[in-house]
């Protein structure tokens, strides 16, 4: 029953597997979404498992009163002894009384609410009628049966796009929408670059507040800042917005290609682009040089997690000289990551979906120098004497853009540096671990 190990799988024919998926569900993306949109509250309509997942994955972030919670369905709801819509109304009333500062309430569907076909859209509409404009109410599904980890963000952004007005106050729609949650510091860096490039009227999706939704129409261009936004792209396109195609802004190469695609779309001259980006490109390359000796030639195996994996593998291979053994991704959006796949080195196996036990077998056989995997797998691999990097950090840490290129490389280098520090082989270079 074990699938034979196939080294150097063809990119056009990835390993497709259907077995145990060791991945988070889409609810997990609430962890960064609620930090990003500062006046939004995410209310999961789900079970005790959903609540437990959130606090386990979010770990220590719970100690202040967080802006997410779970409306836990109980026996009486399911047995029809209580009307679920009435129950939800009661929970929302209680919640908004406690948090009157909340401007946008986001109802989030879960596996159990999807399985019983609870109509969240109807609930959101009803509650919105009651509470808007003081509290806007929207909904999306982050259920594990439909979404994997970052796809929760995709569904949330798609829901925001559906809410967006189609004509702005001035000259119609936004000229550029950058879709995908980015850390504030990264947005600010990009914002400065766009200003220097002379590109104006830029909107990040999601914005930092819930009312920062731009008008979207036929005059809008958009670019994805994250590779997992299939539904969002579709929602934007259905409003007439046109996508700017590029690889993703990870590493010096990715960031340059991504910015250049935008610059070209807005008619920025090559000379100006060069002048504006040159200093940051130089800095990024200099930062990467610190880590290249540590990672060059190291064999890396990436388990599926966030759909960022093809971009991370491209960065590892092309900018710091790592050898890619296998790139797993929960889902491959053919069109959006075509550029990334084209840049992957030959010999890198690509896999979509997962049978975690078989993938672990393949990984053990390949015996890589570094395994990028989730928290459920990392310590067991370490206990086997293998080196790991937990992939969830790529979703929580600022890694996009020029100024974070070195930090991104450092995330991969840290386990290797630590291993040599612990075995006393190499002294830790001063500053090598600072991010």
């Amino acid at each position: 029953m074990n699938q034979p190990f196939r080294p150097g799988c063809d990119k056009d024919a990835p390993i497709r597997e259907r077995g145990q998926h060791e991945v988070f569900c889409g609810l997990t993306s609430i962890i960064w979404l609620h930090r990003k949109v500062q006046d939004a509250f995410f209310l999961i309509v789900g079970s005790r498992t959903c609540a437990h997942l959130m606090q386990s994955a979010a770990g220590v972030m719970i100690f202040s009163e967080p802006r997410f919670a779970t409306a836990i369905m109980e026996e009486r709801d399911l047995a029809g002894l209580a009307d679920m819509h009435d129950e939800l109304d009661g929970v929302v009333e209680k919640l908004l009384a406690r948090r009157p500062d909340i401007k946008m309430l986001v109802l989030v569907g879960s596996c159990p609410s999807e399985v019983i076909k609870f109509d969240l859209g109807k609930a959101a509409e009803r509650l919105n009628r009651q509470y808007a404009p003081k509290h806007r109410v929207i909904c999306y599904s982050g259920s594990g049966i439909e979404t994997t980890f970052t796809q929760g963000e995709d569904n949330f952004l798609a829901a925001l796009v559906r809410e967006a007005p189609s004509a702005g106050t001035g000259n119609g729609g936004a000229s550029l929408v950058i879709a995908g949650c980015l850390p504030d510091v990264v947005e600010d860096q990009f914002q400065r670059l766009f200003k220097d490039l002379g590109i104006e009227d830029i909107h990040f999706l999601p914005g930092r507040t819930s009312n920062a939704i731009p008008a979207i129409n036929g005059s809008t261009r958009f670019i994805l800042a994250q590779p997992f936004l299939g539904a969002t792209a579709q929602a934007l396109a259905s409003r007439g917005a046109r996508r700017i195609n590029a690889i993703f802004p990870l590493g010096e190469e990715g960031t340059t290609a991504w910015l250049k695609a935008i610059a070209d779309a807005f008619g920025v001259s090559d000379a100006r682009f060069e002048t504006v980006t040159a200093p940051a490109r130089r800095r990024a390359r200099a930062a990467l040089e610190h880590y290249r000796p540590l990672l060059s030639g190291k064999r890396v195996f990436l388990f599926p997690d966030s759909q960022l994996e093809p971009s991370l593998a491209r960065f590892l291979a092309r900018e710091i000289g790592a050898v890619i053994v296998e790139v797993g991704s929960p889902y491959l959006h053919r069109e959006h990551i075509a550029g990334e796949l084209a840049l992957l080195p030959p010999g890198a196996a690509l896999s979509e979906g997962q049978d975690v036990d078989r993938q672990i077998d393949r990984c053990r056989v390949a015996d890589p120098d570094l395994i990028v995997c989730g928290m459920g797998l990392a310590n067991p691999f370490e206990a086997e004497g293998r080196l790991t990097k937990w992939s969830i950090e790529f979703a929580f840490t600022p890694i996009q853009g020029y100024e974070q290129s070195g930090d991104l490389a450092e995330l991969f280098a840290r386990p290797l540096v630590r291993r040599s520090a612990l075995s006393g082989k190499t002294a830790i270079k001063e500053g090598a671990l600072c991010s």
Partner: protein, 523 residues
């Protein structure tokens, strides 16, 4: 439908996972959607378990709902048995799969697996983690020990230890401590379960004379069944604290017919002497708030009250199943028990009780940190910090020693209190100079105290927890006099004076009132 920001217990299938992960040779096939695999990280990250827990998830997706999730379950069972070669299989459903009504037990029966299969029915929308663990352990014990005969000759000193599990609070060290203690006292521990046991071992449970239930939340149901089915008595005293440990050994020795031989182990008790030593005088009457699972909370209250001379000012549990026991305990201390699984209610109760020490779970640790009150953790749910590298049991005499250290160290030491009051007017010894080791008090938390506490707490130097500003007004002179009270008791002096003033209709509060109140509350 219940609004939950945080939950003390996971769903019942996580309890079942804890049993599976505790044992050897057992595998759990869980019918669950993609995403439920998060539970693996509880074991690999929090407990730093070096292997994946023995659980296979079917991780079905929406597209499987249209086809057959039952087939997905069956192939997962087949693959798990072929790959992991377990000696027995647990099968069950998580909350989502429960709605599908695929009947994992029935499906597994159709597979003709050559190993015993124990089906679990864990109602996810009614029950929680500890119940799930207890039910799973009971089902396993029943499955393996039901048609066993008790041997003719059973050594009277033979016993089993029941209840320790993966992700339990200090269970690993408790087992070592209690096994050693029982061994020294002439008892023969045959089997520890579920932690470290194999399914086949459970069949040998009836071969011992009696059982010892260390964690009633997990093992009481199974022990009661063994009592009924095999006439096995069980010891239910939980050996947390010096007195309880003595009572526990006494009960075990009576059951083993060893009551006449001398008790050993007491020589390693340091808590009793440390608590009598003069430095511990300052522990007297310290207000302590206790919240946790029922077993640890009740034991903590008893130790606090009888062995350390604290005043129990709050006692509660998140386990409704054991509410009766906690209510009974609370009556002993003349306080209202708190039975809730809403941490916001617990926070409100802590504010209300104004304790000087909080004993709780990782959530109460967060709350206490925010309120800047010293705190120690006494109960699951656990955090990675609750798996210390050092040996640190809670049970037995060594456990009592560990408890003395972990509860008393967060507090200011007696000698320091004494010096502080002697030098309180010293220019270097002002209100802002806290003891160096006092993590809970220094440096001032960045998050600041909670809003409702700000009003009075911001008068520098008062205890961190204060009640919302009452209408009481102090004369300037009285405020100045209050400043002369050492800062670590000033909060209490302010509260007592204000209560006294309110009770007697005194307004404003003068220096006279301050000293009248002091005389009134003098102990």
């Amino acid at each position: 439908m219940q609004l939950s920001m945080w939950t003390y217990e996971g769903p019942p299938h996580v309890g079942a996972m804890r049993i599976a992960a505790s044992m050897e040779g057992l595998h759990y096939v869980l019918h669950a959607p993609q995403g439920d695999t998060y539970a693996d990280l509880l074991f690999t990250m929090i407990e730093r378990r070096p292997s994946r827990p023995p659980v296979t998830y079917t991780t079905f997706q929406a597209r499987d709902l249209g086809a057959s999730t039952a087939d997905v379950f069956k192939s997962a069972c087949h693959d798990a048995v072929a790959r992991f070669r377990p000696e027995a299989l647990l099968v069950g459903a998580s909350c989502t799969a429960e709605l599908l009504q695929d009947d994992p037990g029935g499906l597994a029966r159709t597979l003709d697996l050559d190993i015993p299969v124990v089906p679990l029915e864990l109602p996810s929308y009614q029950k929680k983690e500890n119940w799930g663990a207890s039910e799973t352990f009971y089902r396993l014990v029943r499955a393996f020990a039901s048609n066993r005969q008790r041997p003719e000759n059973i050594a009277p000193n033979s016993c089993n230890i029941l209840g320790p599990t993966s992700l339990g609070f200090r269970n690993r060290d408790d087992v070592r401590e209690i096994s050693r203690l029982l061994g020294e006292n002439g008892l023969d521990v045959r089997l520890v379960a579920p932690l470290g046991a194999r399914p086949a071992d459970l069949a040998r449970l009836p071969e011992a004379a009696f059982n010892i239930v260390l964690y009633p939340e997990i093992a009481e149901t199974a022990a009661r069944w063994l009592q009924k089915a095999h006439n096995m008595p069980f010891v239910s005293t939980v050996p947390i604290g010096v007195e309880a440990t003595q009572r526990f050994i006494g009960e075990a020795r009576v059951l083993a017919g060893l009551e006449d031989s001398p008790l050993t182990g007491l020589e390693s008790d340091r808590l009793t002497w440390y608590s009598k030593s003069i430095d511990s005088n300052y522990l007297t009457g310290k207000r302590v708030f206790i919240f946790g699972d029922a077993t640890h909370a009740i034991a903590a209250a008893r130790i606090a009250n009888r062995e350390l001379g604290f005043k129990v000012s709050g006692l509660g549990t998140y386990m409704r199943e054991f509410a009766r026991d906690v209510r009974a305990a609370a009556r002993e201390y003349d306080i209202e028990p708190l039975i809730t699984d809403d941490h916001l209610e617990v926070e409100a109760a802590i504010l209300e009780a104004r304790p000087e020490l909080v004993l709780g779970t990782q959530m109460e640790r967060h709350i206490a940190k925010r309120l800047r009150v010293p705190c120690a953790v006494i109960s699951a749910p656990v955090h990675v910090q609750d798996f210390p590298a050092r040996y640190s049991p809670q049970m037995g005499f060594e456990g009592a020693n560990a408890i003395f250290d972990s509860w008393v160290h967060p507090l200011m030491m007696g000698l320091e209190e004494h010096l502080l009051s002697m030098f309180r007017d010293d220019f270097e010894f002002n209100d802002d100079a806290a003891a160096s080791h006092l993590h809970a008090h220094s440096p001032a938390s960045k998050e600041g105290p909670p809003k409702q506490a700000v009003s009075t707490a911001e008068r520098a130097g008062d205890a961190a927890i204060s009640v919302p500003a009452m209408s009481s007004v102090w004369t300037d002179e009285a405020e100045r006099e209050l400043k002369k009270v050492p800062f670590f008791v000033r909060g209490k002096a302010r509260r007592n004076t204000e209560t006294f003033a309110a009770d007697n209709g005194i307004h404003p509060i003068t220096v006279e009132t301050l000293y009248d109140a002091k005389a009134h509350f003098a102990r």
